[in-house]
């Protein structure tokens, strides 16, 4: 069940979630007062923190820490995309998904002992918009019209129906800060002692880009049980030193970013297990409908379809990524509710040169069609993927693909300003919901990928899934729009990535936290 669960199931899900939370409240206190085991866990990563103030970060590295230091109103059950209560219990109010009301649970405390209140929650959201930091998540909470607190209740009024709003509340943007300590107009410094949350840990020390030390929050009132009493994160300069450190035992876990070669090497290293979990990062080909090859709309469509017939995802997953990614047959990863294998349904699972040739011939396209496939090396590292795609698309002589590359800043700007006809892009979700994979790509306006694709039927289905909190209704809308977009082919999905960590023997709990929510839960990690 996807994170939509929280959304779609709405009240139905939140009620049991509340019961679960209530039950776990007692367990929480037990967890805190029963000291965590005397275990120190060390994790190495090439990640870099932008800010530990939720108003100043919109990136996974910062959110990884935020998830462990702050509470949010809602959270995902590990290993699932089911939303349950964290610091609050929530439900949709009235018909339509425009008013969402949460009740802040009692006995929730910040690590300085201050109680968590509804006013803190409203303050946390309002200050994100007030500060509007250039690296902050104000765009993520843009659907919010306003938020108010009354007693222990928080009411979110949305600008339009948005069934994915509960998912937004689980992200780092939904982290609750202490209004007594945090400024309404400026960011809190990311230093130990200044970063105060009500999550399972507090930050004992932090040397930027070097080391962060976390210890159990003595006032924690949430439901999570800690399996260690110290968690240390070392920020590595390169993946090479990360591999070296986990191999030598300098760190217990190597988490992000390991390339396929390094993963294979770690798999062969004694004393280390490579643990894989669900991941929903994706890679896909983008056609800019304005500047892609083809003289008419029909020819352009035929060219896109022909390319879709020629892509061999299995070969890419096996040969380029050594099995560390999975073939993707829809823009929505298969770990999310609403996914269907639309591209497999339309184009098959294996390349088909004959059909590619037929579709080009029917549209009167002269072959070979020449185009440049743009790719990026410093952000996505797609050289091998681009080379393999070039080989596959050129097979059969229908196309003559050349490759070109640009560094990230240039690439992302050119890719969204009609300078690339065909290019490779990736997407890392804000939250694990199919809506995060459809609206940004396929809406006629307000899409981040400006490739001039517009299909009103697709628009209608996106509006339908956003307006409904019933999962079956949303699934139906997703299925329709996936089929439509597979036929139109403005994008061709290639692969979906899993999460990978190199884990030293004796370290437990990593598998259970590597899920589609990308929440690395420090508290689940222990040692046997």
């Amino acid at each position: 069940m996807s994170r939509l669960a929280g959304v779609a199931v709405g009240v139905a899900l939140i009620v049991p979630a509340t019961a679960w939370t209530g039950a776990s409240g007692a367990a929480t206190n037990r967890a805190v007062h029963h000291s965590p085991p005397n275990v120190t866990v060390t994790l190495g990563t090439t990640d870099r923190i932008v800010s530990l103030d939720p108003a100043g970060s919109y990136d996974l590295p910062s959110w990884t820490i935020i998830y462990n230091v702050y509470q949010t109103l809602l959270k995902y059950i590990p290993g699932t995309t089911t939303i349950v209560s964290d610091a609050g219990t929530c439900a949709w109010q009235g018909t339509g998904a425009t008013t969402y009301v949460c009740t802040v649970k009692p006995k929730q405390f910040f690590s300085n002992g201050d109680p968590v209140t509804a006013a803190d929650v409203a303050f946390s959201f309002n200050r994100i918009n007030k500060i509007a930091n250039s690296n902050g998540p104000s765009s993520l909470i843009a659907p919010m019209k306003n938020v108010t607190a009354s007693g222990n209740k928080v009411t979110f009024k949305l600008k339009a129906a948005d069934a994915a709003w509960p998912d937004v509340l689980t992200t780092g943007a939904g982290a609750i800060v202490d209004q007594k300590l945090y400024s309404f107009t400026s960011l809190q410094p990311s230093t130990a002692g200044k970063i105060i949350g009500s999550g399972p840990y507090y930050m004992a020390s932090y040397t930027p880009n070097q080391l962060a030390v976390f210890k159990p929050n003595p006032h924690y009132g949430g439901s999570d049980v800690l399996h260690n009493n110290e968690f240390i994160v070392r920020y590595e300069e390169t993946a090479t030193t990360l591999v070296s450190d986990v191999t030598s035992g300098a760190v217990d876990i190597a988490y992000r970013e390991l390339n396929p070669t390094q993963i294979l090497a770690l798999e062969k290293t004694k004393g280390i297990t490579v643990t894989q979990g669900k991941g929903i990062e994706i890679r896909y080909i983008v056609f800019n409908l304005k500047v892609q090859p083809g003289s008419t709309a029909a020819q352009k469509h035929a060219i896109r379809q022909a390319v879709a017939y020629l892509v061999n995802r299995n070969d890419i997953a096996k040969n380029v990524y050594k099995g560390t990614v999975k073939p993707l047959y829809s823009i929505i990863p298969d770990a999310l509710a609403g996914h269907i294998n639309s591209f497999e349904n339309v184009y098959g699972s294996s390349p088909n040169v004959a059909k590619a040739k037929a579709v080009l011939k029917a549209a009167g396209v002269t072959t070979p069609v020449k185009f440049t496939l743009w790719y990026n090396t410093d952000h996505y590292g797609d050289t091998d993927l681009a080379t393999e795609l070039q080989r596959q698309i050129d097979t059969g002589g229908l196309f003559n693909v050349s490759l070109n590359t640009a560094e990230w800043s240039t690439y992302v700007q050119a890719g969204t300003t009609n300078q690339y006809g065909v290019s490779l892009f990736g997407w890392f979700p804000d939250y694990p919901d199919a809506d995060d994979y459809t609206g940004p790509f396929y809406l006629c306006d307000d899409e981040w990928m400006v490739n001039h694709y517009c299909n009103m039927q697709v628009n209608k289905n996106i509006a339908a899934e956003e307006a409904s909190t019933v999962q079956s209704v949303r699934d139906s809308a997703f299925a329709k729009l996936q089929t439509l977009t597979a036929e139109d082919t403005p994008l061709i999905p290639i692969w979906q990535g899993g999460q990978v960590a190199g884990v030293r023997d004796g370290v437990t709990g990593v598998k259970s936290t590597l899920d589609a929510s990308y929440t690395f839960r420090f508290w689940l990690i222990g040692k046997s």
């Binding site: 932008v50 690296n135 450190d245 030598s248 300098a250 800043s409 940004p440 400006v450």
Partner: protein, 342 residues
């Protein structure tokens, strides 16, 4: 004597006045290079995540649409008021980066210079003294090869051999993670911090972490030192006073150590001091290779992030350090050798 003092004062003043345009040119170059490079911090961090209109709005809000002249003036004003600013990507005061990470670089470069001198000076003296023998040839080949070897390549070889195959030394960072987590940063140099707190048991670990990065960088620099010492020893060995020393029946070792080397030392100190720039650029790559938390390591990170403020601040400090060292050496040279002043 009065004339000599006057000429020295004039020289010092001239050199000090020349520092200003030198620094200004450096700062302008740094500013222009950063702006010529494509992209900006917003694009680097959030490109691919926000729509073009959202990106443009954030770029405007951050002031990246202001004219270059306005940005340049703000930059100069900040530098000359001693305010290097706060990084765009992670909101750190640049002065904090300089203090925290600069200390690690100082530790690494200091240790590397020690290695360079300990290796380069004796080998250079030996090669100079035994000119055109197999010893000289070997030392020269060593000097050329070691200097030509890319520091990261040498580092990777050292990591593989001493870290992975022999398993003698740690290959990453400046301390084991638990020791690092428990150190109180007084000076940000772990070895000194451990001494201050009396954590003597941590010292073997801290020194062990320093060995490979210092050896790697130090050996590369030793190539320069070796060749410099050799050439100067050969030159001074031709001097009349060396012949006179020999004529007085002094042993060859005493001639080399007490006469030739001592006189060869002046240009050696001068040029070795000027290796500061080489040392700093080498430190950037060494830190990257060994995950050493120095300022060079941070420079690479902020370059990737297109963080103008951080990169400008770090390079400005690098540039000022090199300018300051050159100035000190020039002054020292002028003080030692009166010919320089005229």
């Amino acid at each position: 004597m009065a004339s000599s003092t006057g000429s020295l004062r004039r020289y010092v003043l001239t050199r000090l006045v020349l520092v200003l345009p030198m620094v200004l040119i450096l700062l302008t170059l740094v500013f222009m290079l950063m702006r010529v490079a494509p992209g900006n911090p917003i694009l680097a961090a959030l490109g691919g995540h926000l729509s073009p209109s959202q990106l443009a709005s954030r770029e405007r809000a951050a002031g990246y649409d202001k004219s270059l002249l306005v940005q340049y003036w703000e930059y100069l004003r900040q530098v000359f008021t001693g305010n290097l600013g706060t990084t765009i990507t992670d909101h750190r005061p640049v002065t904090q980066i300089i203090a925290q990470n600069g200390a690690a670089t100082l530790e690494l470069t200091g240790a590397a210079m020690f290695v360079a001198i300990v290796v380069g000076v004796p080998l250079g003296m030996l090669a100079g003294r035994m000119r055109d023998t197999w010893v000289d040839a070997s030392a020269r080949i060593f000097g050329i090869v070691i200097y030509a070897a890319p520091v990261f390549f040498l580092g990777l070889l050292a990591q593989e051999l001493f870290g992975h195959i022999l398993n003698w030394l740690p290959t990453s960072s400046e301390a084991s993670i638990i020791i690092q987590a428990n150190l109180t940063p007084h000076t940000n140099i772990p070895i000194i911090d451990a001494m201050i707190d009396g954590q003597w048991g941590d010292l073997p670990d801290l020194f062990a972490h320093l060995v490979l990065p210092a050896m790697t960088l130090g050996l590369v620099i030793s190539g320069v030192v070796l060749r410099l010492v050799r050439v100067n020893v050969i030159q001074t060995m031709k001097g009349d006073y060396v012949e006179a020393a020999r004529a007085r029946g002094l042993k060859e070792r005493a001639v080399v150590v007490h006469h030739a080397f001592r006189n060869a030392l002046v240009p050696i100190i001068t040029v070795t001091g000027l290796q500061a720039a080489l040392l700093l650029s080498g430190a950037v790559l060494t830190e990257e290779t060994f995950n050493w938390p120095g300022i060079g390591n941070q420079l690479i990170y902020y370059l990737d992030a297109r963080d103008y403020i951080a990169v400008q601040g770090i390079i400005t400090v690098f540039a000022l350090a090199v300018v300051a060292i050159s100035l000190i050496i020039d002054l020292l040279n002028a003080w030692i050798d009166p010919r320089v002043r005229y």
